[in-house]
């Protein structure tokens, strides 16, 4: 096991004499790893809870939620058991990706959502054909965002994204310094871009 791995584990013991089969294990997962595992477990459970309603709304969305829930629950237990070291970069990037997807779905709307999904508050599949129609005939009910592809913000969303973000921070902390620097720079760039896009959309 190399030094980088030791540093990335931040006190989590490695199998110094570990065989290749054991190289992905931490001997004793740190408190941070277990905390991240717990938070991802919370996020995974939230995804389990909301999967049925997404299946009802649009089956592919339900499948996506089920896959995410499964992945998060597996990762959560792996972090607890100390077997997640090899997938740490993938866990960081996928968690960051999920958070980004969430932000887009609650601010601008997801482009594929309007194509095939039943739109929250709109109830229709995609842009509807109205021969001869001028403009948009779909009412937007105040507060419900009917006809929009932007999803409403609910308590489960807030719990889930908070847990995911906290887990992300902990997972980044478990990475080796070089990796960590690259990942935090990438996340910073994404965050700055998000704020700029928001400011442009909001104030111009």
């Amino acid at each position: 096991m190399n030094a980088t791995a030791h540093e990335g584990l931040h006190g989590a013991a490695v199998d110094d004499e570990g065989t290749p089969q054991q190289a992905h294990r931490w001997r004793t997962p740190s408190a941070e790893a277990r905390a991240a595992g717990t938070l991802l477990g919370v996020a995974g459970l939230v995804h389990v809870v909301v999967t049925p309603e997404h299946v009802d709304e649009w089956a592919p969305a339900g499948v996506f939620f089920a896959v995410v829930a499964t992945a998060q629950l597996w990762l959560g237990q792996a972090l607890w058991r100390g077997t997640a070291r090899r997938v740490l970069p993938a866990a960081v990037l996928s968690t960051a990706g999920l958070i980004a997807l969430y932000v887009v779905s609650r601010t601008a709307g997801l482009p594929f959502h309007s194509e095939g999904a039943a739109v929250s508050g709109g109830g229709h599949h995609g842009p509807l054909l109205v021969p001869g129609g001028h403009g948009n005939g779909m009412p937007v009910i105040p507060g419900s965002e009917g006809g929009s592809t932007v999803e409403a913000l609910g308590l489960p969303d807030a719990v889930c994204v908070t847990a995911e973000f906290a887990a992300l921070a902990l997972l980044v902390g478990l990475m080796a310094p070089a990796q960590r620097r690259s990942v935090t720079n990438l996340l910073l760039a994404v965050g700055v871009c998000g704020w700029i896009v928001w400011a442009v959309a909001r104030f111009t």
Binding site: R106, H125, G137, L153
Partner: protein, 523 residues
């Protein structure tokens, strides 16, 4: 934890975006929502006077046809005292003016869409399609949902007026926003008379009274308050009769005939009089029943019409009789939705003519002679909530459009008699189903006889929770016609499909499109 202060700052930028941006948008969207008018600011029931909608006068008549011009336009209405409510009315009237025509005289009705380019609050283009509900109109004049008239356009609708006497109503049927357009006011009665109905000694003239019942909710600024409860329905805390909240009507000590139209978007009613006395139901959607039916209470779904006679001669002068609503299940009720209007009995003189209900009304209506044995086939319609949409046999109007209007649920030949078995397997909602073009007879409900008040010709049938209703009808006409739930929120999202009566030649429902203003010649 080996995160440096710099790392934490970088993560803070991302985390701030992740947590704050959705929240900011939600708060911003929330700030544009309406504030509902408190119930304490609503008028007290039975404090406002009853009124009857105006009668529409033809702009021209000739030997065969009456010509009418109707302008759909905004109006600022006084509904809740002290507030102004922007509405849309046919000729600026909410409800619209009543049309009265005699059987056999054709009607041409020019409907001009002078509505704004977009709804001021809901931001949609208010295209319209006017449906004369209860008329076997040709497909191109039936208010086919996709046969739309945009603001700045108009269309001349032709109605044959060939059926038996009945209470019809004309209302908007525009694709995607029928509920909103009707809630804004685009609905009115249309009375068709015939020699039989005129010859009967039932109440006529001033004692033949239209009651357009609807419900609405209001915002603090007087505007209508819109909430479709996640596309399940729109329910108001104010019950309106002819546009007036809980009105009180002065009645003389004799019989009155009330043409009850449930023009609510999603609310059904269970009527009763607080005196405990019965209504005498004399007519249903398709006109006079074979025989009157005495009922102390009856259920009325959206778009159903019932003509009932109430005898006020049994009450002393000064007595107030309240028309109440015990509300079928799966409505959303508020403090005063259990009452509708009041009748104050006065001692004024009255004309004693036409003050009876004969034992027979229209015993020879061929629709009421149909039986299941006459049917050449039985079809099933399943009303199902699927993928967040309301569907008929799994189909939506969107499916019809995407099929280029080829998709049909049924294709009877002209003259065929069919039984349709309409099934609502849910306990969570009811569906008043309207089959365009035809009058039908209700055969049974969950295998039991239809309710007493349904023993007349119908074009809407209340399919309640976990109910299966069988209806029988003969298809006369040709072309494509809609079938839909008359909970207009369900219809818009998207419980509507169609059938086609197959005949030698068919007519495209969109074969006579609207034209752009200015009007092309005088009507």
């Amino acid at each position: 934890m080996s995160l440096s202060r710099r790392d934490l700052m970088k993560l803070g930028v991302v985390g701030g975006a992740a947590l704050a941006l959705p929240l900011e948008r939600t708060v911003r969207a929330g700030s544009s929502t309406q504030s509902r008018l408190a119930s304490s600011r609503l008028p007290r029931p039975f404090t406002l006077p009853f009124r009857v909608p105006p009668v529409l006068q033809p702009s021209r008549v000739d030997s065969t046809t009456d010509y009418y011009k109707v302008y759909m336009k905004p109006v600022m209405a006084d509904v809740v005292p002290g507030l102004k409510t922007p509405l849309w009315g046919y000729n600026g009237s909410v409800p619209g003016p009543t049309v009265k025509v005699a059987q056999g005289r054709r009607t041409v009705m020019r409907q001009v869409n002078n509505l704004p380019a977009t709804h001021p609050l809901l931001r949609y283009t208010p295209w319209t399609s006017v449906h004369l509900h209860g008329s076997p109109s040709a497909p191109e004049y039936d208010g086919y949902a996709s046969d739309i008239t945009n603001p700045g356009q108009y269309k001349d609708y032709v109605y044959p007026n060939t059926p038996t006497a009945r209470t019809l109503w004309y209302h908007d049927h525009g694709l995607h926003h029928t509920a909103e357009n009707v809630l804004m006011g685009l609905a009115a009665q249309y009375h068709l008379t015939d020699p039989l109905e005129q010859s009967l000694p039932i109440p006529h003239g001033e004692f033949d009274v239209p009651l357009v019942v609807s419900d609405a909710m209001f915002a603090t600024d007087g505007q209508l308050y819109f909430d479709n409860h996640d596309e399940s329905g729109m329910f108001g805390d104010v019950v309106l009769v002819n546009g007036v909240p809980w009105p009180v009507m002065k009645v003389k000590r004799r019989r009155y005939r009330f043409r009850l139209l449930n023009a609510s978007i999603s609310r059904s009613y269970q009527w009763s009089l607080d005196s405990g006395d019965p209504f005498v139901v004399i007519a249903t959607d398709g006109g006079l029943m074979p025989a009157p039916q005495r009922v102390r209470s009856f259920r009325q779904g959206m778009a159903e019409r019932y003509e009932v006679v109430v005898d006020f001669s049994r009450y002393p002068v000064g007595r107030r009789v309240v028309l109440g609503n015990s509300s079928p299940k799966n409505n959303i009720d508020y403090d005063n939705t259990n009452k509708v209007m009041a009748f104050d009995v006065v001692g004024d003189d009255f004309d004693p003519a036409d003050n009876a209900v004969p034992d027979q009304l229209n015993p020879t209506n061929p629709v009421m002679a149909l039986t299941a044995a006459d049917a050449v086939r039985t079809r099933k319609l399943d009303l199902v909530r699927k993928n967040s949409q309301w569907t008929i046999n799994g189909h939506t109007w969107d499916d019809v459009v995407r099929s280029r209007f080829a998709l049909v649920e049924a294709n009877p030949a002209e003259g065929d008699v069919e039984v349709w078995e309409i099934r609502n397997s849910s306990g969570g909602w009811f569906h008043p189903v309207h089959i365009h073009l035809v009058d039908f007879r209700v055969l049974d409900r969950n295998g039991a006889a239809p309710m007493a008040h349904e023993l007349g010709p119908k074009d809407v049938v209340y399919v309640g929770e976990n109910e299966t209703v069988r209806v029988v009808m003969r298809f006369e006409g040709r072309g494509k016609y809609m079938i839909h739930c008359h909970n207009l929120v369900h219809e818009d999202h998207d419980m509507m499909s169609q059938f086609e009566v197959v005949a030698g030649e068919s007519t495209d429902p969109m074969s006579d499109p609207c034209r752009s203003l200015p009007e092309d010649g005088e009507l």
